[in-house]
C-alpha cells in the first residue's frame, strides 16, 4: 500500500512537504486531482498519480495547468472535493480559468496549490504568486512548517466549501522540499460521484451573469475576511513594543532570531498564514500594541504595502519597514542568519557574532553545472542540427525542458527562452525580422502543453522556421511523468488514449514533416538539411527514448564504447559533444564504461574511427 494511504491516525511519519500536502488532501477526502508537473510541486502530483492506482482518487496529468484547473473546477462544481497542483509559473497558464472561476465559485472544496520558487532553484523567474490571490479575490493560505502544510491542506478544503470559493494554498521551495515528522490524521472517505443542477445564471459567465457574480465574489471576500480575523492560522506570540509580521518560512527564521537575540519580552510576532483577504482588525490591533514594526516576507512587499495602508487608515504613525536598501531584498530566498541580522539592525540590538572562515586561500573551484546525461539523444540531435547548418547564420529559440541545457558549451544551441511553449511563437517573431535561419526546439511534453498553439499560428500566418521536436517519450526534466504522446500500455496502465506527434503536426497542415533517429548521425543530418531548406514551416521530430527513463523501465541497454589505440587525440568527441562519460587519463581521452550508454554518437564523430564497442563488459566499476 502507498505509505500516504496508511490509515493509522496518530502515527508519526517522516514526510517531505509535498508528501504532507498530498496526505492532507487524502485526509480531506479529495476525489479528483489534476496537475501538470512542475518543480518544486512535482512530488505532490506524483504521489496522487501513485495513489490513484490503489484508491478511489481520480488523478490525471493534464496537458497543461489551465486544463488541469478546468478539470478540477468542474469536478468541484459537482460537489466533490478537487485539487489542482502547479508551480508558480503554471499559475500564469491557469490564470484565465482562475479569474472567472473566482466569480463562479465552487460547491465541493477546491484547493489550488501553487509552489513558488524564491531564488529560482529550478524556475525561469521568481514571481510572487500571492498577487494572484489579490488579483482573483480568492482566499490564500500559506504554511510555515511541514506539519502545518498537512493541516492547512485539510482546512483549505473546509474553507473552500464554507465560502464556496476555490482556496489557493501557497508554498515555497523550502516547504515543498523540506522534511519533518508529521502525525497522520484520519482519512475522510472521498465522495467520488457528484451532481449538477442546471443554473446558467450561476454557471454561464455572460456579461449579465458576471455582473451579479462579481458582486457575489466581493461579498464572499468580506465573509472571508471575517474568517481570517478568527483563523488559527493568524496568530500573535510574544510581548513587547517591537513588532514583527511575517509569513511562510520567514516565520521560522524570525522566531529563531527572537530567541537567539534574546528579544523575548521585547518583540512580538504576528504570523499570517491566512492573508488574503488581510485580517484587518487583527493587524490594526497588533500595530496599536507596537511602536516599531518590521515586515519579513520573501519576494514582493505584499504584506508590507497592505499593512502600511492599514496603518494609514487608522492614523497610526509608527515606523513600518520591510523591503529596503538596508533591510530586506525582493530578490532570492532568505536564510536564518540574514533575517537575524536584519532584525538586530532594525531594532538596534547586538547581533550574534559568527566566525566566518577566511577562505581567500582556496583555489578556484570548478563549477558543477547540470548537464545533459551521458548518451542523451538531445546531444545527438543538437550536434546533427549544427552539422546540418554549418556556415549558415542561425538563431535557436528554445523551450523548457532538459534540452534547455543545450545552451551550455560545447553545444550552445539556445538563444531565446521565456516560458513553456514559447519556442514556436518566438520563432515566428524572429523569422519576420531577421535574415537568419530560425530553428526552434521544444520537447514532446512541452509541445502538447502549449508549443502546439504556436505551430498552428505559424501555419496559418505562413511563418518561416523549422521546429525540431525532441521527442524522448516522457516529461523528463520533472521526473518522467507521462504526457499525451506516451504509450501508457507500456507502463502497464490501460484506459488511456495516445496522440502521435507526427500525425498531429501533419494534421495541422505543416507541409514538410520529417522524422529522425538522432543516434544515426549521417542520416539525421541529411534529413535535417531537407527540412531546413523548406521555405515556410517545417517540423523535424527527433525520436529516441530518454536514457534515464529507459534505464528506469529496464529496457535493454547497449554495450558501452571505449577509446582504442587508433585515437590521435583530436578530441572532437569532447570538443563537439561534451558527453559526461568522457574523461582524460594521462593526457588521453577515455570513456567511463559505467556512464557510457552505448549510443555510439561519439564513434560517428571521431575522425579516426577510434571509438569502438566494448566486447565484454568487464572491469565494471574500476576504470
Amino acid at each position: 500500500m502507498h505509505k500516504l494511504l496508511t490509515d493509522e491516525p496518530g502515527k508519526k511519519m517522516l514526510l517531505l512537504g509535498n508528501e504532507a500536502i498530498a496526505r492532507g488532501a487524502i485526509e480531506a477526502g479529495v476525489a479528483v486531482a489534476a496537475a501538470y508537473p512542475g518543480t518544486p510541486s512535482s512530488e505532490i502530483s506524483l504521489n496522487f498519480f501513485q495513489m490513484s492506482r490503489e484508491s478511489d482518487l481520480y488523478f490525471e496529468y493534464s496537458v497543461n495547468e489551465k486544463v488541469s484547473l478546468e478539470v478540477a473546477a468542474a469536478a468541484a462544481n459537482t460537489g466533490v472535493r478537487a485539487m489542482c497542483v502547479m508551480k508558480h509559473v503554471g499559475m500564469n497558464v491557469a490564470a484565465d480559468a482562475l479569474m472567472t472561476l473566482a466569480y463562479v465559485g465552487v460547491r465541493g472544496g477546491l484547493v489550488i496549490l501553487v509552489a513558488d520558487d524564491p531564488f529560482m532553484f529550478s524556475s525561469q523567474n521568481e514571481q510572487d504568486s500571492r498577487y494572484y490571490a489579490k488579483l482573483a479575490g480568492l482566499p490564500m493560505l500559506e504554511p510555515s512548517t511541514i506539519e502545518e502544510a498537512r493541516e492547512m491542506t485539510i482546512q483549505a478544503f473546509e474553507l473552500s466549501e464554507q465560502l464556496e470559493e476555490p482556496v489557493i494554498l501557497r508554498t515555497t521551495t523550502r516547504i515543498n522540499h523540506s522534511t519533518a515528522v508529521v502525525s497522520l490524521g484520519a482519512i475522510r472517505p472521498a465522495k467520488t460521484r457528484g451532481d449538477f443542477t442546471r443554473n446558467p445564471m450561476r454557471y454561464v459567465t455572460v456579461p449579465a451573469v458576471s455582473r451579479q457574480l462579481h458582486v457575489r465574489l466581493l461579498a464572499n471576500l468580506d465573509k472571508a475576511m471575517g474568517i481570517a480575523e478568527q483563523s488559527a492560522f493568524n496568530f500573535a506570540q510574544g510581548s513587547g513594543s517591537w513588532g514583527i509580521i511575517c509569513n511562510g518560512v520567514s516565520y521560522n527564521y524570525a522566531s529563531d532570531a527572537v530567541r537567539d537575540l534574546d528579544l523575548e519580552g521585547r518583540a512580538r510576532i504576528l504570523r499570517l498564514g491566512f492573508y488574503n483577504p488581510m485580517p484587518e482588525k487583527l493587524i490594526k490591533d497588533f500595530l496599536r500594541a507596537c511602536d516599531r514594526v518590521l515586515v519579513i516576507e520573501e519576494g514582493e512587499p505584499v504584506l508590507e504595502e497592505a499593512i502600511k495602508a492599514l496603518a494609514q487608515e487608522e492614523g497610526l504613525m509608527l515606523p513600518i519597514r520591510g523591503k529596503g536598501k538596508d533591510l530586506f531584498s525582493r530578490l532570492f530566498e532568505f536564510d536564518p542568519a540574514m533575517v537575524r541580522e536584519k532584525i538586530a539592525r532594525y531594532f538596534d540590538v547586538q547581533g550574534v557574532a559568527v566566525s566566518h572562515p577566511d577562505l581567500s586561500d582556496l583555489p578556484p573551484l570548478p563549477p558543477r553545472p547540470p548537464t545533459l546525461c551521458a548518451g542523451c539523444s538531445h546531444r545527438a540531435t543538437f550536434h546533427a542540427v549544427k552539422k546540418a547548418v554549418e556556415g549558415t547564420d542561425v538563431i535557436y529559440p528554445t523551450d523548457i525542458g532538459c534540452y534547455t541545457l543545450g545552451m551550455l558549451p560545447p553545444l550552445g544551441v539556445a538563444d531565446f527562452l521565456i516560458c513553456m511553449g514559447s519556442s514556436t511563437g518566438t520563432a515566428a517573431g524572429f523569422s519576420r525580422t531577421l535574415d537568419k535561419k530560425v530553428i526552434a526546439f521544444c520537447g514532446d511534453s512541452t509541445f502538447f502543453h502549449s508549443a502546439m498553439a504556436g505551430l498552428v499560428n505559424a501555419v496559418f500566418n505562413n511563418h518561416n522556421f523549422t521546429l525540431v521536436i525532441l521527442d524522448n517519450g516522457t516529461t523528463a526534466m520533472t521526473g518522467h511523468q507521462p504526457h499525451p504522446g506516451v504509450d501508457m500500455e507500456k507502463l502497464g496502465l490501460s484506459g488511456y488514449g495516445r496522440i502521435d506527434i507526427k500525425e498531429v503536426v501533419e494534421a495541422l497542415g505543416v507541409a514538410c514533416v520529417r522524422e529522425i533517429q538522432p543516434y544515426k548521425l549521417k542520416k539525421s543530418i541529411e534529413t535535417l538539411k531537407e527540412a531546413f531548406a523548406h521555405k515556410g514551416v517545417s517540423v523535424v521530430i527527433a525520436r529516441e527514448i530518454c536514457t534515464l527513463y529507459g534505464k528506469s523501465l529496464k529496457l535493454p541497454q547497449m554495450k558501452p564504447f571505449y577509446v582504442s589505440d587508433r585515437c590521435r587525440n583530436h578530441r572532437d568527441c569532447i570538443d563537439k559533444l561534451g558527453c559526461p562519460a568522457f574523461y582524460i587519463k594521462e593526457g588521453r581521452v577515455a570513456i567511463d564504461p559505467d556512464r557510457c550508454t552505448g549510443c555510439a554518437v561519439c564513434a560517428q564523430v571521431c575522425p579516426e574511427n577510434a571509438i569502438l564497442p566494448v566486447k565484454e563488459r568487464a572491469a565494471k566499476g574500476d576504470v
Binding site: V181, P336, P364, M477
Partner: protein, 194 residues
C-alpha cells in the same frame, strides 16, 4: 534541546538524500526534534545535492553561512565549495575521492589537489576527518555506499543527538533489503575512521 546543524553535500547520484533520510528516520525513532531541507534540482543531471539537517529546538530548516556544526562531504570539491557554512568549531568529515565535474575531467579547468585538503581546511575548522570513502565503500562490497560510510563517520563523532546504534538499526530496517548488509559494513567501516 541543544541545536545541532548538519550540512551534507554531495554530487547527484551519491545518495545524499538517502543518508539524510536515514538520519531523519533515526531521529524520529529517538524522539529527537529535527527538520531538514534539501536542494536536489537536477540531481540526476550531475548537479550538486545539499541537505541541511537541523536537530533540536529551532524552527529553521536552513543552515546559514558560518553556522554548520558539522559538514559532511561525499566529495572533496563539494566539501571545499561548502566551506562557507563552517566556523572555527565545525567538525568536517569528507571523502577524498574526487568526482571531477566534466570540465575538470576533460582537463579544461583544474581540479583542486585532494592532497591539499588538510592544508586548506584543517586549521580553519574544529576538526577534519578526511579519508577515501569510495575505497571503503568498494571494500564493503558496493561502490555506491559512500553515503553509508560517511554516515558511519558521522555517527562516530558523537555530535549527533542520535546514537550510532539507532542509526545502524535504521539502516538495517529502512534501506533496501538487498543492500542492507553491505550498507552496514560500509557504515561500520566509516565508523572506524574516527
Amino acid at each position: 534541546m541543544k541545536v545541532t546543524r548538519l550540512m551534507i553535500v554531495a554530487v547527484g547520484g551519491q545518495g545524499n538524500l538517502l543518508a539524510a533520510k536515514v538520519l531523519g528516520e533515526a531521529a524520529l525513532v529517538a524522539g529527537c526534534p529535527f527538520r531538514m531541507s534539501e536542494i536536489h534540482g537536477m540531481a540526476q543531471r550531475g548537479g550538486v545535492v545539499e541537505s541541511a539537517i537541523v536537530f533540536g529546538d529551532a524552527g529553521s530548516s536552513l543552515i546559514s553561512n558560518g553556522e554548520a556544526d558539522i559538514l559532511a562531504g561525499f566529495e572533496p570539491l563539494e566539501t571545499l565549495r561548502a566551506m562557507g557554512k563552517c566556523n572555527k568549531n565545525t567538525t568536517v568529515i569528507t571523502s577524498t575521492a574526487p568526482l571531477p565535474p566534466f570540465a575538470a575531467a576533460v582537463g579544461q579547468v583544474a581540479y583542486p589537489d585532494p592532497g591539499q585538503l588538510e592544508k586548506l581546511i584543517g586549521d580553519k575548522v574544529g576538526s577534519l576527518t578526511a579519508f577515501d570513502a569510495a575505497a571503503l565503500a568498494r571494500e564493503a562490497g558496493n561502490v555506491m555506499a559512500v553515503n553509508m560510510v560517511i554516515l558511519g563517520a558521522l555517527a562516530a563523532t558523537n555530535l549527533l543527538p542520535v546514537s550510532p546504534e539507532v542509526i545502524r538499526e535504521t539502516i538495517r530496517t529502512r534501506t533496501n533489503r538487498n543492500f542492507a548488509e553491505t550498507n552496514l559494513k560500509a557504515f561500520d567501516a566509516g565508523f572506524r575512521q574516527k
